[in-house]
Symmetry: C2
Subunit: 360 residues, 2 copies
Amino acid sequence: MQDRLHFAAFDVTTDSREELIEMLRMWTAAARDMTAGTQVGDGAPTSYDAPPTDTGEAMGLTAAGLTLTFGFGPTLFEKKGKDRFGLRSQQPALLRELPHFPADNLDPNRSNGDLCIQACAHDPQVAVHAIRNLARIGFGTVAMRWAQLGFGRTSSTSTEQATMRNLLGFKDGTANIKSEDSEDIEKFVWVKEGDDDRADWLAGGSYLVARRINMHIEPWDRTSMREQELLIGRDRLEGAPLSGGTEFTELDLDVQGREGPLIAIDAHVRLAHHTQNKGVKLFRRGYNFTDGTNALGRLDAGLFFIAFVRNPDEHYIPMQTQLSSQDALMEYLQHTGSGLFAVPPGVTSKDGFIGEGLFT
Amino acid sequence: MQDRLHFAAFDVTTDSREELIEMLRMWTAAARDMTAGTQVGDGAPTSYDAPPTDTGEAMGLTAAGLTLTFGFGPTLFEKKGKDRFGLRSQQPALLRELPHFPADNLDPNRSNGDLCIQACAHDPQVAVHAIRNLARIGFGTVAMRWAQLGFGRTSSTSTEQATMRNLLGFKDGTANIKSEDSEDIEKFVWVKEGDDDRADWLAGGSYLVARRINMHIEPWDRTSMREQELLIGRDRLEGAPLSGGTEFTELDLDVQGREGPLIAIDAHVRLAHHTQNKGVKLFRRGYNFTDGTNALGRLDAGLFFIAFVRNPDEHYIPMQTQLSSQDALMEYLQHTGSGLFAVPPGVTSKDGFIGEGLFT
């Protein structure tokens, strides 16, 4: 996982299926160039009297581990009752706007979209360059709806390969699926053939859940260490469960202290744990964000949560319903942005393009 | 120069000189801890029932080259006619709100402030952690007024130690003073004893000019390569002046082409050049920024310009007046934030604190 994120959601501004396909073809070619560390259109001769094919700010930089992930929102298939691109019959049954969760305070200008792109790289200039060039290529076909920059742990400046810390100061994601857990990845991440008869094009892909989670930083910073650890259910220094052991020791949800279970009934790690969620584990890609201050002079900061799930109805919505209604930590959190996107499988042939299975 | 910036401006919310001094003392101690790569208050025993002395999200990370630079705005000395802290008689004559420049479109919520902090580090998490902890320490004494995140060239992912590129895709700062140019640094950066009789406390310090410069990215990206290079006055690939040579070749402002000087009369590099500004050279610390999209779906992006000058009236204001009225590039730029701050000299004694010369 790279250290930096630039995530962008777009609305399609044309009703032409052909224009949409043509843009996806151009995006595919540009993504191929940029993830290889070359410029968009590299090698092709261009006129000095035309705009450059690449905006140029990543010249001299490497690919910096750039990956680009594309997603299709529910409104690509049907928007206000309209089937703009002849895709309605192929909309996955599970691809719907996420339900309202308790304590959601969503900003429509930070939510949803017809398309999304997740750009991850070790260098923000590379990630920003990628989104910008794709937006530029899409000019006239799409308009950017919202965007989010994020940052994580910088392995190169870390003293060890540790779990990243969120802005609550705690290690985040200890119990989530790792890329090496291939059995869990198959079970909870990749959509399989037969999962959805309407959407075989999505087999080998996944659903991307995006949530912009603001943290009430200032009240949190005035909370005692004891209270912070009780709310999370882990110690802050090591990230070990309060039931004992070290960071990767399994939680013991039953062990009792003098005042009840050591990991409280409303502790975050208990409610998010797979034993409390019908065995469901999450594959996440979380990035911290800081977007200046809000109108009250408080930090507009938190976690931009991204999860890839095979089935949002089983692998995300129940867990979030439980967390948003019972997690004591919610006092310090507010979800301000949201999106659900279907991520088609990768392009495998030389002439292929992003989402081609949907259009053939 | 580090790759990442978190800049914050604060308003002092108390009228107590003692509280202000006490906070500056605490900021000094915290800055010492954090720039050494340890946690705030490291080593001091704290109660488990108290909030942690450090917010924790930089645990496990190194100092990442963190530097912290503090500045005092004009309103610290006098605000709405009021001398809150008994400092009025020591306000430097040159420390005033910057004048309105043509084409300025300043957002008051991104401008000015009683105090500022510039945190630079190679890891954004470290820079954000520093500002957040200083804000937390200042709670009750200061409130954050605005903040800006920035990013530059990541040397670790660059194929060479090249001049960073701005979001126009061009190398930026080629002709500015380098840290090694000690004669220019003395002449144009450090305030000297005798420069200002009212403000001897500032000798050994400098003035910090902050300008948030939005770029009209989308129109720029539709401009021909020829036009882009004419507007800048350099070629895009190498950053060489259009008068010939390579990046660090001196401009030849007189050499003529078929349609006038090769470096146009209204080219950016000509108007910013020291020969066109009474010999003045600039010492800059610029960072690119991207803050999502604006209401029109356009990238809210550009350059967060920081310069350190010995004398804003001679070393910044005339140059900016010339640029904002004559530079053809201004068609693609809009200044949306502004601030001028006096940066006191560094703390040299063990018991000293930031700006101590002002309070003794």
